[in-house]
Each structure stands twice: as C-alpha cells, then as structure tokens.
C-alpha cells in the first residue's frame, strides 16, 4: 500500500504537491561552525523581534535601581544625589548586565525542556554552536540594558569625564564581562531540572555578590574582613573598571584585571557547559 502512487493524491492536495518539494537527494555540505553559530544567533534575534515585551523586564530593573538608590540613599551615601549619581551610574551598569546573565540560564533551560535542543542534537553541525549562538544573542540584551541605563543617567545629570569614548569603552568591557558571567548560568541552565530553579539559585548567589562589592558604596567604612571580600569580588573589579573608564581615569590594570577574570570564567565554564550539554540525558 505504501508503494502505490495512486494513494498519494487521493485524500489531500498536500500529498500531490508534496512530491514536488522532496529535495531528491540534494545534500548540502556540512554547515561550518561559524555559520551554525550565526544561525543560532539569528534565532535569538528573531525571538527578540517577536517578543519585544521581554525588553521591559530588561530595561526596568536597572532603571528602578538607579532611581531608587540615587534619590533614596544618594544623599546619605554621598554629599548630594548628583554626586552619588556620578559614582553609582557606572556601578549600576555592572548590576544591569550581571542580572541579565540569569536570563541566559533560564532561557537555555526552557529550550532544553521544550525539546527544540533535541532536534538540534540530531543535526550534523558543530554542536557547541547551539550554546555559543544563544549566549551571543544574549549580548543584545546587555546592549539594550546598558544603553537605556546610561541614557537615563545622562538625563538625570550623569556627566562622565571620560566622554563618549570612555562610556563606549566601559560598555564594551561590561559586555565582555557579562558574556563571561553568563557561562556560569548557562552551566546551571543545562543541569537544572526547571527554569524556576535557575532563577532561584542565581538570585541567592547574585544578590550577596552584587551588594558585597563597591557598586553601591566604597568599602572604607566596612569591617576589615568584609573589605577583603569586596576587594576580591569580581563585581568590584568590573565596577571599578567601568567607573574609571567612564570618568577617564582608568589605568591599564583596572581594565586588564576584568578582562583576565572574564577570560578565566570563559576558560572554565564554556568547556564545562558544553561538556554538560553534550552528556545531558545521554546516559
């Protein structure tokens, strides 16, 4: 019955038209690693295009923090709210990017559980492209979050001494930093049993890290042991680099340290995540 050509056209027009679209043995050459990664990046961009609502989350969180901390605590932390804004804005950009990296974990986890990643795993392309493309797509979110935060800062009276180039350099460093941190949550996203677990666990780790840094205040008034924590915290390094770059006082070491930390994170977590992903459900 499966070999009779008559039955193909019988019930639906689709059956007849279908024969013309079977690609008759056409077999393109294997996609390159770059083209597979770019395709996954394209997928992330399309998702972004179809659900612009997710922008609201991305944009609102840093804005609320910026307004709240500047006007609620700014006067108490510094001599005036204007002065505190000069200090806090480069810090809140770190916060904005790092909070965003959690989305990387939750969205990866969602994709894995929806089965679309299983489809990818049955296709003959360089498999790490799935993760690399998704994480590159997340870079778009960082750009949006950074651009809106800095813009609002400028409206409120943020005046970076480093000028446009200083701000641009800070934004670039923060994008690199965010991309590196997102690999940690990508690993978590691959192993977690559900997306809610990812965001829950991430927040428990992230909030202490963000607050025990020099993002909000300088550590001078803290007890000695906490100063040690703050000084060792990569969030502090990122905030310092961002601050110095925006205000035009950055030394080689400030930026170099952040880039080193970023490289270290990627070196550890990218292979780990890819390994976890490859072995996911394979046993």
């Amino acid at each position: 019955m499966t070999t009779s050509p008559d039955t193909v056209d019988s019930t639906t027009a689709a059956g007849g038209r279908l024969r013309t679209v079977l690609s008759a043995g056409e077999r393109p050459a294997r996609a390159t690693a770059v083209s597979a990664t770019l395709t996954h990046l394209w997928r992330a961009m399309m998702a972004f295009k179809h659900f612009p609502v997710q922008l609201i989350d991305i944009v609102l969180m840093p804005l609320i923090f910026l307004l709240m901390f500047t006007y609620l605590f700014g006067g108490a932390f510094a001599d005036s709210t204007e002065e505190y804004l000069q200090f806090y804005l480069p810090g809140v950009t770190v916060q904005a990017v790092v909070m965003m990296t959690v989305y990387t974990g939750t969205s990866l986890n969602t994709d894995i559980h929806k089965g679309i990643f299983d489809r990818f795993r049955t296709l003959p392309f360089w498999q790490p492209a799935t993760l690399a493309g998704s994480l590159l797509g997340d870079v778009l979110r960082y750009v949006v979050a950074l651009a809106t935060t800095v813009s609002l800062g400028l409206l409120l009276g943020f005046r970076p001494d480093g000028g446009f180039l200083g701000v641009l350099a800070a934004v670039l460093v923060l994008i690199v930093f965010g991309f590196s941190v997102s690999w940690i949550f990508a690993a978590l996203g691959v192993v977690a049993s559900e997306p809610e677990r990812v965001s829950g666990t991430s927040m428990i780790v992230l909030y202490p890290l963000l607050f025990m840094s020099n993002i909000f205040v300088m550590p001078e008034t803290m007890p000695g042991w906490m100063q040690a924590v703050v000084d060792a915290n990569p969030m502090s390094h990122a905030a310092t680099a961002s601050r110095e770059l925006m205000h035009g006082t950055a030394g080689f070491w400030d930026v170099g340290l952040v880039l080193c930390v970023s490289a270290g994170l990627v070196a550890v977590f990218a292979p780990l995540t890819m390994r976890l992903y490859r072995n996911k459900n394979a046993h």
């Binding site: 019955m1 499966t2 070999t3 050509p5 039955t7 193909v8 019988s10 019930t11 639906t12 027009a13 689709a14 059956g15 038209r17 279908l18 024969r19 013309t20 679209v21 079977l22 690609s23 008759a24 043995g25 056409e26 077999r27 393109p28 050459a29 294997r30 996609a31 083209s35 597979a36 395709t39 394209w42 997928r43 399309m46 998702a47 179809h50 659900f51 929806k114 089965g115 679309i116 299983d118 489809r119 990818f120 795993r121 049955t122 296709l123 003959p124 392309f125 459900n281 394979a282 046993h283």
Partner: protein, 330 residues
Amino acid sequence: MNTQPTWAIETSGLVKVYNGTRAVDGLDLSVPTGLVYGILGPNGSGKSTTIRMLATLLRPDGGTARVFGHDVTDEPDTVRRRISVTGQYASVDEGLTGTENLVMMGRLQGYSWARARERAAELIDGFGLGDARDRLLKTYSGGMRRRLDIAASIVVTPDLLFLDEPTTGLDPRSRNQVWDIVRALVNAGTTVLLTTQYLDEADQLADRVAVIDHGRMIAEGTTGELKSSLGSNVLRLRLHDARSRAEAERLLSAELGVTVHRDSDPAALTARIDDPRQAMRALAELSRTPLEVRSFSLGQSSLDEVFLALTGHPAEDRHAEETAEEERAA
C-alpha cells in the same frame, strides 16, 4: 558508496538501563530500507528510549545499534547526516514563525541563506501552510504544527525518518494528510520508522511491525501476519448493570465458543471472534434475557487486545495499572 546496505537499522542486544530498570532489554531489530516499519507498544514499553538511542540522543548501555551500517555511538555525525527526527523527541521552535523554523533547519544543515529561504517557501507551499507562513508556531493548530514538524524534518530529505506517534491527538482530516505525507516520502525512497499506539495506523502505513513490551520484542512481522495470530474481529459489550456481568459472560462464552474477557470497566466484556454472524447470534440470544445491554460494538483488534493475546497481560497504561492495583487489593 553505491551499494546501499540492505538494512536501514540493525540493533543487536540493545540495552538501556534507567535506575536499575532495563527500559530496553536486549532488543534485536532489523529494519529493511525503503519501507515503513512500525513499532507498536504502550507508553513505557521502551519505544521512545529505543528511538532516542537510534537518533544519537541517548547512549546505549549495552549491545550495538547501526544506522545504514554506521554505529550510532562511534559515528554520530555520519548517522545524523542520514536521519531526521520528529515529534516528542525533537520539537520545533514555538517562538518562531513557520518559515523561520524551516529557514533555521536549512541553515543548520548547510544551506546558504538564499537557498534555505527558497526551500522553506517550497515546503510551506507543499504542505499547505501558505496562509500561516508568517505566524508564530504557538498559534498553529495541532494538525498544522504536525505538518510543519514533518516539513522541518525533510528540509534535506533524510534517508531514514523517525516519526513518533505522528497522528496522536489529530482530527481525521489532519491524520489523513499526515498519512499521505508519509506515503509520499516512502515513494521518494525514504525509510520511515514509525511508533504508534494504534494498530489501525500501523495497518494503514506500515509494511512490517514490531510489537515491543518491557523493552523486548514480543512479535514481529507484517501487519497481516500479526492480525492473523488473533481473531479478526472484537466484540465489545457494555452492560447496564455491572452486577450482571458474570451472567452475561457465561451466556456469551457459551454462545460464541471462545473465552470472554472482563474489561477493566466493571460493566464491560470483550471477545475475539472470527465471524461477525457469531456475534449477531450471541446478541440476539442476549436480548431474550432480562440482561440489559447499554451498548455494543464490533471492530478490529485494538493494541490492547494484541497485547492481551501476545503477552497475556493488558498494555500497561495507567488505567490498566490501576486495575492491577485493585485486583491485588481485593
């Protein structure tokens, strides 16, 4: 390279263990090229685990599995170039449009952007999805989604297509469309491995069928062979009052001359018969008694009945397990 191996799939002693349970327990499967091969089995029988191993998604714990002569563990990339997977194991992206899904699949298999777009348009038209090409997948109906799912699997026509319960939950029209698509694919030379819970579907599509249970193959052959091992018809009867079942059972088995089975429904009985006239006589006899029949039907064997015949136990769906629990408790 011109000599195509005779077997699309060959497994030998294939084993997969989950938490100490052998989900697949020494499966020997040989699927010839160029036809539709059906795997019949209830949920939890090891169907999906087997397909996941064959599709390179899951590593076997024992035995070997070859697809067109290539070992799934040693040469996953070579296997992936020949196969496609649809259904619950490998989904489509709900956050993209139909066209975008197909473009993505084309790109990931090596097409240029231009060719991938062209191919996507061809497939959208060929599958009758033209009106929905730019709609997000989450707005598709079940039948449209299933068609797009299959279209995504044949952007590059595979030599072997895994079709996982392709018509579960579809209305009859959509089901016929899917069946037509499968037939067209096989005509074009693709081997199809189909899993299904419906004997009817296997009957419509499959040239050969394997019935598996508890990770083992319990029967293999053409659908004709499979059915000839059973009576050709099944009489199902539902009584008005469950308390009169024992009496009805006695009467029917006397009249039909075969064993009458008690269904998990306490008011229902089933019996396999060879000749519909037997059923008519038995029902006429029943109508002369005070026993009240609520409904009856005469039809083909269901998978449950195939299982009952082949294994002596019902297909272990949730319902059957509950019945087993009740029996133990009683």
